[in-house]
């Protein structure tokens, strides 16, 4: 019984990780249909921001929850203004351009910080369930993932800004006609998406260590989750993360992590074949 609870917690942690690394990409994709291949590198920058902040003496939780998102959010805004906004509506060009951007970011970070694996120490201790131990950090990841999803859903549903955002997602020209500046909305959205990526990087830094190539580990999974989820930001990411995360963890428990990875990819392929618009292209359409 305790083992089942423990495995359940680990499965939820896996799902929460998928949610955290994908939500930023999903926000940007959902709003602007821009696929930011450099998203993994934004996660990595969040990790480095956390490392540098903690090395400079900032409290580690401040570094993760404040410094990382704010820094990467600002970087995102700059990138959007100088670079991304010229590619709206040109899907293939955006892919190529953001891929080039990811290479530049990796190269610059390697040149600045070297290839070493930097560590962030977080002292959350461990919890016990019936003789089994696990790190309490898993619970923090799950809590933050839930909070982030709730916050985005809440903003989109209950605030004016959210209404404007949803309107621009549906029909940018109409929103412009009604007096809202789509360009500014895109800039803010890209900034928020990048900030979410930075938050993910900060949260994952204690778990996986921070290297310049850290983003390449996450971009594949984030990409798959977003595309499988479909256009809806909150429900798409949640559904896809739940499905892919459980398949991955279940297969890992049953066999081993390599099999888990294979299962995740296989399920994604089947889902996309059956529902090319993603899960929320078929179910829960027009949801948040």
């Amino acid at each position: 019984m305790s083992l089942a609870i423990l495995l359940g917690v680990q499965a939820l942690t896996g799902i929460a990780t998928l949610v955290l690394i994908s939500i930023g990409l999903s926000v940007i994709f959902g709003m602007m249909r821009v696929v930011n291949i450099a998203h993994g590198e934004f996660i990595m920058l969040g990790g480095y921001a956390t490392v540098l902040a903690t090395q400079a003496g900032v409290n580690v939780w401040m570094a993760i929850f404040v410094v990382a998102p704010v820094t990467v959010g600002l970087i995102g805004v700059v990138v959007e203004r100088c670079f991304i906004r010229f590619f709206y509506g040109r899907l293939v060009d955006t892919l190529l351009a953001t891929w080039g951007l990811s290479l530049v970011i990796i190269g610059t970070t390697t040149a600045a910080f070297g290839n070493r694996n930097a560590a962030v120490a977080v002292d959350t201790g461990f919890t016990t369930i019936g003789g089994f131990r696990f790190s309490a950090y898993s619970l923090i990841l799950i809590a933050v993932a839930v909070l982030v999803l709730a916050a985005i859903a809440g903003v989109l549903r209950f605030t004016r800004a959210g209404l404007v955002a949803r309107a621009t997602m549906q029909n940018a020209t109409m929103a412009a006609t009604l007096g809202y500046n789509p360009a500014r909305i895109y800039m803010v959205t890209f900034g928020i998406g990048s900030a979410l990526a930075g938050l993910a990087g900060g949260l994952l830094a204690p778990l996986s260590g921070v290297t310049p190539l850290m983003g390449t580990v996450f971009i594949g999974q984030a990409f798959i989750t977003v595309v499988t989820g479909g256009a809806a930001v909150v429900s798409g990411t949640t559904l896809a993360a739940m499905l892919l995360g459980s398949v991955n963890d279940g297969t890992t428990v049953w066999l081993d992590p390599v099999a888990g990875d294979v299962a995740l990819l296989a399920v994604a392929i089947v889902l996309l074949r059956l529902m090319p618009q993603g899960l929320t292209g078929r179910f829960f359409r027009n949801s948040l």
Binding site: L3, L6, L7, Q10, A11, T13, G14, T17, T110, N115, R116, N117, A119, A121, V122, T124, G125, F126, T128, F132, R133, F134, S135, Y137, S138, L204, P206, L207, S208, G209, T211, L213, T216, V217, D249, T252, V253, D256, P257, V258, G260, D261
Partner: protein, 425 residues
């Protein structure tokens, strides 16, 4: 304005004018002349040192390259080799297999080096090996690897899993218990070591409770940690590799498991960075087995370590002495001994001399090259990590080389050139 008619045959379709041809020929001759002149007055003995100086393996690459440089400087300071100074041709392979291929060709064809030291990943070695075999340039492969290379042109002086695993598992199972949970990286080294672990475990009556393979980019070990606890093993054998897999040790400690189930490994610490990257809380007590540790307590090794730290600086910023980096130094010593003894760098003579049952007194201990397999009978050590420093617990001199030697006989089959594999226990 460009005159396309004079630009060349590709554009105008007309044959080159005679004056143009003469100009091109003169230009080419001018370009070639320095090479001809260089050939006539060659003062240095060139060797190739092909390592990854950038990219994911840059840390190891830099260490090996510096150790080779240190070894060469030592020899040059003592008067050089055959009256000439040794020069390293050391391009950066950038952890890129295509570059390994083209750079090895370059070392063989353009630089015409007398010996090649290099390669870090087994995939790099397998790219370099056939090229150097065809070019008849001896290749010294020093990284501890999965074993099995059977090639008369190659000398492998690092340890192989049968040498380390065969000592590590009996020692740790006697200390901790016979139920082993194996974690391995999912590529040739991890897979092969897992097979060796299964074989050794069977021989000593230990039980492999489970073997989990991880992709090299795996960073989330939460489920695995749960599985391990459910299986209740006496020890963990970790053959995970690389920066991402390092997260396992962090997450293991974070889950409070560090003092519950001990960890042994034949890969942890091989890169040299692991003790610095983990905190003592996360890494104390991990037991590993390699062919060399800086703590080896012989006068020869102590002098060696002092000299290296003096020249390159102490760790972690300076020299990080792992088995592989010291084996690079040791391989160079073996080549130098061969060249001095035969008074030539000619490959056939060097190889033949090295096959004469030669023993060398090296920092890791006494190494003897086995003529049939070109691997070394060499010392193997077991050490535990304490406060970021390795403390040697056991020393086993003169461990015979790979048991695959039964399948590899370079004396009988001198044209052999392949890598043998251990298939199943």
């Amino acid at each position: 304005m460009v005159d396309f008619n004079a630009a060349g045959p590709a554009i105008s379709g007309r044959p080159l004018k005679a004056s143009r041809r003469l100009a091109i020929a003169a230009g080419l001759a001018a370009l070639a002349t320095p090479a001809v002149v260089r050939g006539a007055t060659e003062p240095t003995l060139k060797i190739g040192g092909l390592y990854d100086l950038s990219g994911p393996f840059f840390f190891s690459g830099r260490q090996f390259s510096r150790m080779l440089r240190f070894a060469v400087d030592e020899v040059n300071a003592a008067g050089g080799l055959l009256g000439r100074q040794v020069e390293i041709v050391g391009p950066d392979a950038q952890t890129n297999m295509q570059l390994y291929s083209s750079l090895t060709q370059q070392l063989a064809m353009r630089d015409k080096v007398s010996a090649v030291f290099g390669g870090i990943a087994s995939s790099a070695r397998e790219v370099m090996r056939p090229i150097l075999h065809r070019a008849r340039i001896p290749y010294f492969w020093s990284v501890n690897y999965e074993g099995g290379v059977c090639d008369r042109n190659v000398f492998s002086n690092g340890t192989t899993p049968d040498q380390t695993m065969q000592k590590l598992l009996p020692y740790t199972t006697a200390k901790w218990g016979k139920k082993i949970y194996v974690l391995a990286a999912d590529f040739v080294f991890g897979q092969t070591c897992a097979l060796w672990a299964a074989k050794v475990a069977k021989d000593i009556g230990a039980e492999i409770v489970a073997t989990d393979f991880f992709p090299l980019d795996a960073t989330n070990f939460g489920v695995t940690i749960a599985k391990i606890q459910a299986a209740k093993p006496d020890m963990i054998l970790s053959i995970i590799v690389g920066a991402n897999n390092l997260s396992f040790y962090r997450q293991w400690a974070a889950a409070g498991m560090k003092d519950q189930i001990p960890i042994a490994s034949t890969s942890f610490g091989g890169g040299g960075t692991e003790p610095t990257l983990l905190s003592p809380v996360e890494s104390n007590g991990i037991v590993t087995s390699f062919g060399y540790y800086p703590a080896i307590d012989t006068p020869a090794n102590k002098a060696f370590v002092q000299k290296v730290y003096g020249a390159l600086g102490p760790p972690p910023e300076g020299a990080v002495l792992t088995e592989a980096s010291v084996s690079t130094y040791e391989a160079f010593q073996m080549w130098v001994a061969a060249v001095k003894a035969t008074n030539t760098t000619e490959t056939a003579q060097v190889v033949q001399w090295l096959e004469g049952n030669r023993t060398f007194d090296l920092p890791s201990g006494a190494n003897t090259i086995d003529p049939a397999t070109h691997h070394n009978t060499r010392p193997v050590y077991i050490a535990a990590l304490q406060d970021r420093a390795w403390k040697i617990e056991q020393a086993y001199p003169a461990q015979p080389p790979s048991a695959l030697g039964a399948k590899c006989d370079l004396i009988k089959n001198p044209d052999e050139t392949r890598q043998l594999t251990l298939v199943g226990p």
